[in-house]
Structures are given as C-alpha cells and as structure tokens.
C-alpha cells in the first residue's frame, strides 16, 4: 500500500540522494515515474546528476599515518545504472524497471567513498565493509548510523570544469589519452567535454576512452591489498559509453563528470599493458591486422587446452595458449569468445565460497568490455586486450587459490540433484528455478539449469528467469553489471560451449555473497510498478 506523502519532486530526490536517505530517495524516484509521469530516462539523468559531484576521490590509494597505504573503492553508482539500462531491454515491460530501481536504491549509499572508508560518512562501504558502527557507535546501539542519513553534506573532491576546445581532433584525443594515463584529471575531463560536443567526434571519443580504461589494469591482485583496480577503469569507460548512448550525448554532462575524472585518478597501472605490448611485438608482429572473426571454429581440444591454462596454469601458460590460437589464425572475437566460455568452468566447477566470486566476476565483466570494444570499434590494439582479459581472469583464479579451501563452504555437487531436476516437467522448471535462486540453493539451481538446457532449445525465458531473480537482491550493483555482461556475451558467443555462460551465470547468481538478506527494494518496486508474475 502506498501512503499519502508530500509531492514527489526532483529537488526532493536530489536532497534525499545527497542526504543518504536511500529508502526515501527510491520511493521518490518511483513516485516521479508513476505519479508524476516523469520519463524514466529523465529521472535516471537526474539521479546521476545529483550524485555526480560526490563520487570522485582524491586517489584510490590512501596513505595511512602508519606509513602504509590502503585501497579506496571505486564508485559503483554508475555501474549499477549501466547494468540496469542494459537489462531493461532484456527483461522488458515493467519487469525491466526493477534493475533501475535497484540502481536507484544503491546511489545514495555509494557517495563520498573516501569519507566512508574512514567512517566519516554513511553508506554501503562504511556500514558493511568497514563495519564503522562497531568502531564508532551512536547513542542507540540498535541503530546503525552508517546506514544513513548523513550528518554532514558529502564532500566534493573535484569541481566541475569547462570544456577545453581548440586544436585538431587528433591532437586533442592524443592529449586526452596522455592526460588520463598521467593523472591530469582536469585536462582529461575538459578535453573530453570539448570533444563530446561535436557528434562527429563521438565514435572516436568512445574508442579512445575505452582504450584508456582497458589498458589500465593491474598485473596481479595477489597479496597486493588495495594496489589494483580490478578492471574498474574499463568498467567505468563502458558505463559512460552505454549510458551516454541511452541518455543522449547532449544530456550527458553529469555522466561525463561522474566518469572521466576518475579514469585519470591514481594509481595508474600499466605494467601488464607493457608486458602484453612487448610479447605481441615480439611474437605477433602482424597483430594489428588480425581479423575480428575467422571461419575456423575451435576444436574441443583447443578449448580444453585454453581451459587448463586459464584455470590451472600460470600467467605464461595463458600467454602461450592465447598466442597459439592467434598464430593458428583465430580472430580476435573468436579468441575472446573462447576465453569467456573456458573461464565459465571456474564458476561452474570450482568456485564455492560466496566471497570468492567477487574478483573473478570482475574479470568476466572486464572481458565483456574488451569484447564489446572489439565488436563496436576498430583499433589496432584489440588483440592485446584479449591477452589482458585472459590474464586478469587467470590472476583472479590464482589469487583465490592462494587461500586454503574452507571445507565449511563446500557445495554439494549439482549432479546429486540432476535426477530430481530431470523428473520435473519442463514447463515447471523455470518457476522452480526462480524459487531456488531466491533461496540461494546453488546445487539445485544449477541442476535445474543443466536439465533445462539439455531438454529444450529455449534460452530467452531461462535467462529472463535468472536475471529477474538476481535483481531481487539489493545493495549491489555488481548483480546488474554481471547480468548485463553475461547476457550480452551469451548472445554473441560463437563457440560450441556458449551454454556454459548460462551455467556460470546461474551458479554466480545462486551463490555469490549477498549484501542484504531482505528484498525491501524489490517490495518498493512491486508496490509502484506492480509487475506481472511478481
């Protein structure tokens, strides 16, 4: 039931976002769309604009008084919107609005990350990751004050700037790429704004910003603490491109303000890019002219060898496996497809602990950015990006493997439930799958998916079921982002094993750690949008 409240306005939405009143902000957002008939797209723009000044940090490394450093998380508000906008078309109708409401729910919780990690501002990081209320409790021990509302206004670490214009497009693109790599936020942002004004520049600008994001990637996360970006530069660049295309580039100033300065934020990690550039120069001298697709499908043996390298090998095994595929004439997208399906075996067969999904699925999302960049742009460096993605995936596997396995997080094998799943009528499998996904019962969920995949060629409804169930979980933009990546890659993948993407996606969504056990956000959405099959 919707209670009578004061009028929903954009000003009110802005105040609630900046005041970290996420429940109220979400309700206002829903009311603006349903009661005030404001277009969803316009409200997404307003929500992005309200958050934009408050998502920058001075650095993603914080120097501590002890002389050590700690990592500072990347803004996730914009990643939620990118995933939500992508999933909106996949789910369709009022169901497609759910991921947007989840994105909205998260935005007020994701501001001012620098202050959150030092327990001076409320939000998701302060409340959950840092457990600030234990360190600095308020007067009421039953209230977590880091859940909001804010007691201070959020800080602005990077003011808005004017566009930089003048000079050739070629020169400005080169200056922007250099400014991002060197950490000159103002120059990078101003140049981007200036270039984005002219629709004729936008395709090249998109290519350049994706390139800058993709090449900034750690060589390893093993024992590195916060000195990594787990693909966030690439993920932000992709978010910018997709959301600007959705909102319209002329309506994307605040979006650009949200994303571009952070691409130039420290640390800058170009060691892996240098290594891959070197090995390609030495071993693949014609790499700039390798085609995107070849007409030679991979053999099962080739996919097995790549799987072995990604899951059980070291970095040079991965380099060797990828190099071998390119040398035998495979196309860039072909090898990217193979990397994505082979990596699924890690999700499907190996991962057990709910916390252990985080880094590997970042690598999967990074690889999705690489594939999307290759599909939509022509750039002579795209071969190298496939190596980067494969190395990132392998590194996350090895990083997890540096920790002894916890027998208490062991999963029952999915095959134990296969006979049960096969005994259920096909038309009952998807409703049951939704139930088991919501119950976070990975073995049964995966058995149902295995059974469905083998008994029918239908895939759309299966993906819809997994995605819609996944979007019930709140406080986590990774859910939407990974959903968007998995669905996009499934649609494009040309290997014989493309169904493994669905198997990996289902396992992830049935097992990945949840940031809240309740579905409050879903209930707000259901109250206002009354979805069918709720």
């Amino acid at each position: 039931m919707v209670l009578m409240q004061a009028a929903a306005t954009v000003d009110r939405l802005r105040d609630e976002i900046q005041g970290v009143r996420y429940r109220e902000a979400t309700t206002t957002f829903c009311r603006l769309v349903t009661e005030e008939n404001r277009p969803l797209k316009a409200m997404i723009k307003e929500a992005i604009a309200a958050a934009a000044p408050y998502v920058q940090v001075p650095s993603h490394m914080m120097h501590l008084p002890t002389g050590e450093m700690r990592g500072v998380n990347y803004d996730h508000t914009i990643l939620g919107w990118r995933g939500a906008i992508s999933l909106m078309g996949e789910l369709g109708g009022s169901r497609g609005i759910l991921p947007n409401i989840q994105a909205m729910w998260y935005v007020p919780q994701g501001l001012n990350v620098w202050e959150q990690v030092i327990c001076e501002f409320p939000g998701h990081y302060a409340r959950d990751g840092e457990q600030c209320n234990r360190k600095f409790p308020g007067p009421d021990e039953h209230v977590d004050r880091f859940d909001g509302p804010a007691w201070n206004p959020p800080k602005i670490y990077f003011e808005d700037h004017d566009p930089i214009e003048g000079g050739s497009v070629e020169d400005r693109l080169a200056r922007m790429t250099w400014a991002i790599a060197e950490g000159d936020k103002a120059e990078a942002y101003g140049l981007f704004l200036g270039l984005a004004k002219d629709p004729g520049n936008r395709q090249r600008l998109k290519d350049a910003i994706l390139f800058s994001g993709i090449i900034d990637l750690q060589d390893t996360i093993i024992n590195r603490g916060g000195y990594q970006n787990i693909g966030h530069k690439a993920l932000r660049a992709r978010a910018l491109v997709d959301i600007a295309d959705y909102l319209g580039w002329d309506d994307s100033h605040e979006l650009i303000y949200t994303v571009v300065p952070d691409l130039a934020c420290s640390p800058h990690l170009h060691g892996l890019w240098s290594e891959i550039s070197n090995i390609c120069r030495m071993e693949l001298p014609g790499h700039a002219s390798i085609p995107k697709r070849s007409d030679q499908p991979f053999t099962e043996r080739e996919l097995d060898i790549l799987t072995e390298a990604l899951l059980w090998g070291g970095p040079y095994d991965v380099n060797g496996a990828i190099m071998g595929l390119f040398k035998r004439g495979a196309g860039i997208l072909d090898v990217g497809d193979a990397v994505i399906v082979c990596f699924q075996r890690y999700l499907i067969d190996v991962l057990e602990h709910p916390n252990a999904f985080l880094h590997p699925t970042h690598a999967l999302d990074y690889m999705n950015v690489v594939q999307s960049w290759t599909r939509n742009h022509d750039n002579p460096h795209q071969v190298k990006a496939v190596f980067m993605g494969a190395r990132f995936m392998n590194d996350t596997v090895r990083s997890n493997a540096m920790f002894p396995r916890d027998p208490n997080s062991a999963l029952e094998p999915r095959r134990h439930h296969r006979a049960w799943a096969d005994g259920i009528a096909v038309d009952r499998l998807l409703p049951l799958l939704k139930q088991h996904l919501l119950a976070q019962d990975a073995p049964r969920s995966c058995a149902l998916v295995d059974s469905y995949l083998e008994r029918t060629s239908e895939r759309h409804d299966l993906l819809d079921t997994i995605t819609y169930a996944a979007c019930h979980w709140q406080n986590d933009p990774h859910v939407m982002r990974n959903g968007a990546s998995s669905l996009e890659e499934f649609r494009h993948n040309r290997t014989s094993r493309h169904d493994d993407i669905i198997r990996g996606y289902a396992k992830h969504q049935a097992r990945y750690i949840k940031r809240a056990p309740t579905h409050d956000c879903y209930r707000v959405y259901a109250d206002y949008f009354q979805p069918a099959n709720a």
Partner: protein
Amino acid sequence: MSNDTANLGELWRVRNAAAVTLGLTEDHMRQAVRAASVEQLVGLIETFSPACSTGTEWTRTFEPLVERLWAWRDDATMAALAEVFRARGMPWMAVTNALSAEHGARTRAELRQPAWARLPAFTLG
C-alpha cells in the same frame, strides 16, 4: 601384439613406476608426519598462508595434506592443531575448519582402502 597395444603396455609400465615412487614418498611422508611435534606441524601448516605460500601449486595441496593429517595423526594432536589456529581468528578460519573434528570425521569416513591398494585413496593434489 600391435603397436598400439605395445604403446599402452609401455605407458602402463611408466604409470606403475610413478605409482611406486609416489607410494614410497607417501610412506616417508607418513613417517615424518607421525614423528612430528605439534609445533612442527603448525610450522608446516603456516606455509599455506597467502603471505608464506610459494604459489598456488603449493596452496592447492593443503587439502591433500589435511587428508593425510587426519589419516595419520590422533584426535588429540588434531585438536591441539585446531586450537592453535582457532586462536588466530578469522584469517585462519578455513584452516581451523579443516582441522575441526567434524571435518576430520567426514574425511576419515571418505578415505577408502580397497583390498588391492597399498594406500588409502588419498587426493593427489
């Protein structure tokens, strides 16, 4: 005998040689583990910390080691080991759980030794 059959026979001889070598190694390991003090075993287990491990290949052998500890050491020793790592808190939780009596009971129940086998069916790792 065809070439293929000869090749299979040759491969089986190589495999058997590897099994004999592994069996002897396991036997030496069994003697060493049985003779080790709790402190020495703690020292070995500490090498599986991400900060001390020589790499993933080493850490991935943690579970095979735990199987052997449960097979070759008594409950009192295992409880003493568990207590050491439990006192170290969350970072060692996975190790503590692997040394718990419940996990030990499961592990011992799953180790089988058919009549024809010299050793229990340990994980190779």
